[in-house]
Symmetry: C2
Subunit: 134 residues, 2 copies
DNA sequence: TTAATATACGACCGATGTAGTCCACTTTCA
DNA sequence: TGAAAGTGGACTACATCGGTCGTATATTAA
């Protein structure tokens, strides 16, 4: 099916929440979890992935938390998704895990049109940046 | 993740295969399965769903099989997908299973932009019909 | 120095969905 | 009448998903 994972949704909600704060202000995972009723541990994982991919910056220790690592305009939604979903970010297997992973690749007659659809979707996500959803 | 199921891919390959034949010609599930190396039983299920939704017509008994039920131009890809995937055809839960199924719906801040993305994707699939992928 | 608060990370679990298989049944035609 | 075809349900193995738990580490306020 075509479905965003909850992790991605939580990530979008969280990073948007951070973006609504004055630039540089630090927000804790707990605050976000409480605000939206998101499981704290799960949200933490998501924020850690966003941190590792450089979209947000973490501050450890007491009075720590997260802040945006760049201006919202420079954070397209596509980057948020790919930061959270490791592989599997394409609508078909051959486009994300490689052609040889699909057993019917050589005779498949639909990969060409689906590649166009994929490009369409990618464009939709990469042209939308964080500043547009706050 | 955003991924088409194998059933949908098989359905697309199959219905496209049928569409390449002269109009009205009957194709068996076995022929399609053999041609593309798709598991026969699984393909049968998919073809049955396409039949129930009226996209293809089945002919039972010996020398039976499947043929298109309408001209290819009148079969948008979106219909093929929704015929095979029952529910879960939206990128987020609240758009396909209803708002109250998501625990954070009332405080969710991203449903509005994601609804736009959904509309974008739907348009991509509904404007593409079978005649364009043969 | 220490206690409190916060992130980092990996292991784990149950529920659900996916891909595929199996089998019994019905329909149709040669 | 029997072979060939679709119909339909149950079933399995596996992967993923959503979520939880425990522990380690970093930072800072007291
Ligand atoms: S080759 Fe065809 S069937 Fe295989 S993953 Fe790509 S689009 Fe799907
Ligand atoms: S309400 Fe928000 S979090 Fe819930 S399914 Fe819709 S978009 Fe996702």
């Amino acid at each position: 099916m075509i479905r965003l994972s909850k992790k991605v949704e939580y990530g979008l909600i969280a990073i948007r929440h951070i973006a609504t704060k004055p630039a540089g202000e630090i927000v804790t995972a707990k605050e976000i979890a409480d605000t939206y009723g998101i499981p704290y541990e799960l949200l933490s994982k998501v924020l850690q992935k966003l941190t590792k991919s450089g979209l947000i910056a973490s501050h450890q220790g007491m009075r720590g938390g997260y802040a945006l690592a760049r201006p919202p305009v420079e954070i397209p939604v596509s980057l948020i998704i790919s930061a959270i979903e490791g592989t599997r970010q394409a609508i078909v297997q051959c486009l994300s895990e490689g052609p040889q992973t699909c057993t019917v690749f050589t005779v498949c007659t639909i990969k060409s049109p689906l590649t166009k659809v994929q490009a369409n979707i990618e464009r939709a996500f990469s042209t939308m940046n964080l500043s547009e959803i706050v």
